[in-house]
């Protein structure tokens, strides 16, 4: 096991970990998987999870509430062809685990399948932390929230309200499979955020800034990541947006700032390349491997293997090592994101993208950190090349219709570009486009790749998982901007 914890981290150990009251060792896992496959089936897996979460929330200058939560359970899945039976239990007593395996087994009918000898597997260690944040003194976190509050209020007299939050989690998982794998991982996460509301002359605007990742409190020592830095950034946005004017409506040139604009990739490409949709032929990218789906400037990768990133995983929730998958290379579609089921369908090795929100859910092909790699252009030249368009800097989120490929993303900080210069700030606006069409119109790509700070959460089929995005400055020659001002 490459991820160990010593005695000082005892409060974090899962009840199913070695020495725990409900230890699940390879032998017990094998017994359960045998029960799961007693009625037949092709494959069975067991997923045990112990997640500790905590948060502190500051509002009106005080830390109003502190909270903690524990989530513990085991899910067992039996696969038969493309069908899966899934059951979970929150009670780890042996009879409950057996009942759980039997319930999952109901999907199958036929001869019992033998379970391979189960052995513990090592995996890379991409997010070791000195001290898991959940073990750090709560007073340190409280102080950071208060510092953020002070910094935001000091930054501008128009700041009327400040909210700040610190959320952390520590998740231990165990995966055992009927083909013999037994894998454990521990996954730390922190997320810090500040939201400021500024008011002036009857106008009111909010700005926010946040970040984090699979890190400990050392995150706040990184350049530009202190509580005060986030506070000042949130104020900067709120103040800038006080003067926002109506955004234009219609098709125009759009320039996306580096970093968080990676949402474009996530929505326009990423979801459509999740292999479950393609296996079923319901994605607009189905059957298009080897064909152009983007401008030749575009190379898109999904990197579960980045150190300490929000979307990174040592192993996915099916026990496969997180990898780097090339999705689009020079504009040509190269591959999809796979979980075990889709990898089997395509005759490929799993890409380490089988993820789930918790033990309550069966895994699905999901993104990790999705990046558009850097291009050849100077970012300043990109802005200069635009006569009239929109520059998008901060984002609220996005959504895609997998079948058609139509996607939107909402911009919370945007500027008008006039004659190659950023001019007026614009009110919140949505951009809408179609995946292959929008990526085909990437006519300039910056040399300034940035990976987003850790704030994004992706939803699919009701399951949320942490993800990362990243990209350089991007110019799209025509995209529909959903403002209110026509012809202005």
């Amino acid at each position: 096991m490459s991820n160990t914890l010593d005695a000082s981290t005892a409060p974090l150990r899962a009840p199913f970990a070695p020495g725990g009251p409900y230890e699940i060792d390879p032998e017990r896992a094998r017994k359960l998987l045998e029960i799961a496959l007693r009625r037949g089936g092709d494959h069975a897996d067991l997923f045990a999870e112990f997640a500790l979460g905590a948060s502190l929330v500051l509002d009106e200058g005080i830390v109003k509430s502190a909270s903690r939560g524990v989530s513990l359970g085991v899910g067992i899945r039996v696969r038969r062809g493309y069908a899966a039976g899934y059951a979970y239990t929150e009670d780890l007593e042996w009879p409950s685990l057996v009942r759980c395996a039997e319930t999952a087994a109901q999907i199958a009918e036929g001869e019992a399948l033998a379970v391979a000898a189960i052995t513990e597997r090592a995996h890379p260690d991409r997010y070791r932390v000195e001290l898991p944040s959940v073990l750090a003194a709560g007073t340190l976190k409280r102080t950071m929230l208060l510092e953020a509050d002070r910094a935001a209020r000091a930054a501008d007299s128009r700041v009327q309200r400040v909210e700040a939050s610190f959320a952390e989690s520590f998740r231990e998982i165990l995966v055992a499979t009927s083909d013999g794998r037994f894998v454990r991982d521990v996954q730390p996460m922190i997320r810090f955020g500040v939201r400021a509301i500024a008011e002036h002359d009857g106008r009111r605007q909010a700005g926010s800034s946040g970040g984090g990742g699979r890190k400990g409190l050392e995150y706040f020592s990184e350049p530009g990541k202190s509580p005060e830095d986030h506070a000042r950034e949130s104020v900067r946005v709120a103040i800038a947006m006080l003067d926002a004017r109506e955004a234009p409506a219609g098709e125009m040139e759009v320039v996306l700032a580096p970093g968080d604009s990676g949402i474009l990739l996530h929505e326009a490409v990423g979801h459509g390349l999740e292999a479950d949709f393609n296996r079923k032929g319901t994605s607009n990218y189905s059957g298009r491997i080897g064909t152009p789906v983007a401008s030749s400037l575009c190379t898109v990768v999904d990197r579960g293997d980045l150190d300490h990133n929000r979307g990174s995983i040592n192993v996915d929730d099916e026990g496969n090592v997180g990898t780097s998958a090339t999705l689009i290379e020079g504009g040509t579609l190269r591959g999809y994101l796979h979980d075990e089921l889709s990898a089997k369908h395509y005759g490929l090795a799993p890409s380490g993208n089988g993820r789930r929100e918790s033990f309550r859910c069966a895994p699905l092909p999901r993104m990790t950190n999705t990046l558009l790699l850097a291009g050849p252009h100077d970012p300043a030249e990109i802005i200069k090349s635009v006569k009239r368009g929109v520059y998008a800097q901060r984002f609220g989120g996005g959504q895609v219709d997998i079948a058609s490929g139509d996607f939107v993303f909402s911009i919370s900080e945007a500027y008008l570009i006039e004659d190659g210069k950023l001019t007026a700030p614009l009110k919140d606006v949505n951009l809408i486009g179609n995946g292959p069409d929008a990526l085909g119109k990437v006519t300039m790509l910056g040399n300034d790749l940035q990976v987003s700070d850790g704030i994004w959460t992706c939803g699919k089929d009701g399951q949320s998982v942490p993800v990362g995005v990243g990209c350089p400055t991007i110019k799209i020659s025509a995209m529909t901007v959903g403002g209110t001002a026509i012809g202005k």
């Binding site: 899934y86 009327q160 058609s404 919140d428 529909t480 959903g482 209110t484």
Partner: protein, 449 residues
């Protein structure tokens, strides 16, 4: 776990918190049974079945507050739950507005709202698969252009919850919910697929729409999107079908809660008693509807739930308040506390009251405009009311749905949007906690080609 066991558990944890140094506390426990299945192309894809249980507490030490929760109900898990809450109280800071409601305000008795249907809980996996399969089959057979499917799902959940507070409140109830949805796929030009869907959900199993009807409606909505195209950028009337209108109402709901108001995160601050919408608009939050999807007999603070008319003929009558936000605003709670252990108000059955026009009359009386069936994205800023979202639907030409439309956005500040509602349909269907009939907004900006 039955209600009795939940009660015993809650009393035990409550007394441990008080003995451990909490000056006040609230404890909530839940237990339930879930089943969900999905079939695709007539094959079973997923059968998921489980029992769930959880307990959460809100502890007070004077005016310092902490919350903790767990689903680990072993002795170790419960001990941790209690010690975490007590320890965390020392980390939070004194909040002058914190505290349980005045005991005099607590609900002493509450109505039976028929929230539970035993038939929901007795649906077996095989029966659930059969229902989903029937619905998907009906969709695939309804139209030859349906060539694929994202599947059909059937789910049912039953469960109970019990709440106790040191202020003397004791209450609990159980509920059920069943749902059926179908998402057929039709192949369109240019390698695009089109999918839409239809769903039905009810607390009472027998009141779910018939599987064949759900499937056929899903197919109709899907093939209707074939050939969807952009329209030119322009201003035009926009008709929202009940599903799309429901989404608008959901955005509005987030702006009238007490916490959005005291946190100055709503465009409706300082608007009580003023006109905030056209006089056709009456918006009600009514937790007392028998078997309503969002119904509840008491709120998360233990106050009797009550019907609140939020907007009456366009005039904002009240915010939805829990005890905490009411204190912050110097008002009285409206019995709308959403969560039993967090703070904040929320909606129950929150709907735009039906008008008199039929759906067809609204479309027929629209000479030219957009008919929206679904929206995409998060383009709503509650602080300013700025609204801009992706939309999918049809173009209306001379009062008829002429052709499908996609890849456009609609936008307008919410204050204007509400004021410009010039038609409200009679087709309210309370299948989810937030619901609306068909509505028309007189003029919005449509961004397209």
């Amino acid at each position: 776990m039955n209600q009795e066991k939940l009660s015993t558990l809650v009393e035990d944890v409550l007394s441990r918190l008080l003995k451990g140094g909490a000056t006040d506390a609230k404890v909530v426990a839940r237990a339930g049974q879930d089943l969900s299945v999905r079939v695709r192309m007539d094959e079973t894809e997923l059968v998921e079945e489980a029992g769930t249980q959880s307990i959460s507490v809100r502890a007070f030490k004077g005016q310092r507050i902490a919350t903790s929760s767990t689903n680990d109900l072993t002795a170790v898990g419960l001990a941790r739950l209690v010690s975490d809450a007590l320890e965390l109280c020392d980390l939070s800071q004194e909040d002058p507005s914190a505290g349980l409601p005045d005991p005099a305000e607590l609900a002493k008795s509450y109505p039976d709202l028929a929230l539970y249907d035993a038939a929901c809980g007795s649906v077996t996996a095989a029966e659930a698969v059969a229902r989903a399969r029937r619905a998907e089959k009906a969709a695939r057979e309804a139209d030859a252009r349906i060539t694929n499917s994202e599947g059909a799902s059937f789910g049912r959940t039953t469960g109970g919850f019990v709440m106790a507070t040191s202020g003397g409140f004791r209450g609990g109830y159980h509920g059920s919910y069943a749902s059926l949805s179908v998402s057929p796929v039709a192949a369109d030009e240019g390698g695009k697929n089109r999918t839409s869907g239809y769903w039905s959900a009810r607390r009472v199993l027998a009141k779910l729409e018939d599987e064949e009807a759900v499937g056929r409606e899903a197919a109709r909505r899907t093939v209707a999107l074939l050939g969807a195209r952009k329209v030119p950028t322009q201003e035009a009337p926009v008709v929202f079908d009940p599903d799309a209108a429901r989404s608008l109402l959901g955005s509005f709901a987030g702006c009238i809660t007490g916490d959005a108001i005291y946190r100055r995160s709503s465009f409706l601050i300082d608007k009580l008693g003023q006109s905030v919408a056209s006089d056709l608009v009456t918006i009600v939050d009514d937790p007392l509807i028998v078997s309503g999807p969002g119904s509840k007999p008491f709120d998360g603070d233990g106050l009797a739930a009550r019907r609140n008319v939020v907007v009456d003929k366009g005039v904002l009558q009240t915010y939805l308040l829990d005890t905490y936000s009411a204190r912050k605003l110097g008002m009285k709670s409206t019995g709308s506390a959403a969560s039993a252990t967090g703070t904040g108000a929320g909606v129950s059955n929150f709907f735009l009251a039906p008008g008199t026009a039929s759906h067809d009359e609204i479309v027929r009386s629209t000479k030219q405009g957009l008919y929206v069936t679904s929206m995409m994205g998060f383009g709503f800023n509650a602080v300013t009311g700025d609204f801009s979202r992706g939309a999918l639907g049809y173009w209306i030409e001379n009062g008829e749905l002429a052709f499908p439309v996609s890849e456009i956005t609609i936008s307008l500040n919410f204050q204007e949007l509400l004021a410009r509602i010039d038609a409200v349909g009679d087709d309210l269907d309370l299948k989810s906690g937030v619901a609306s009939p068909t509505i028309r907004v007189g003029r919005m900006t449509i961004a397209g080609s």
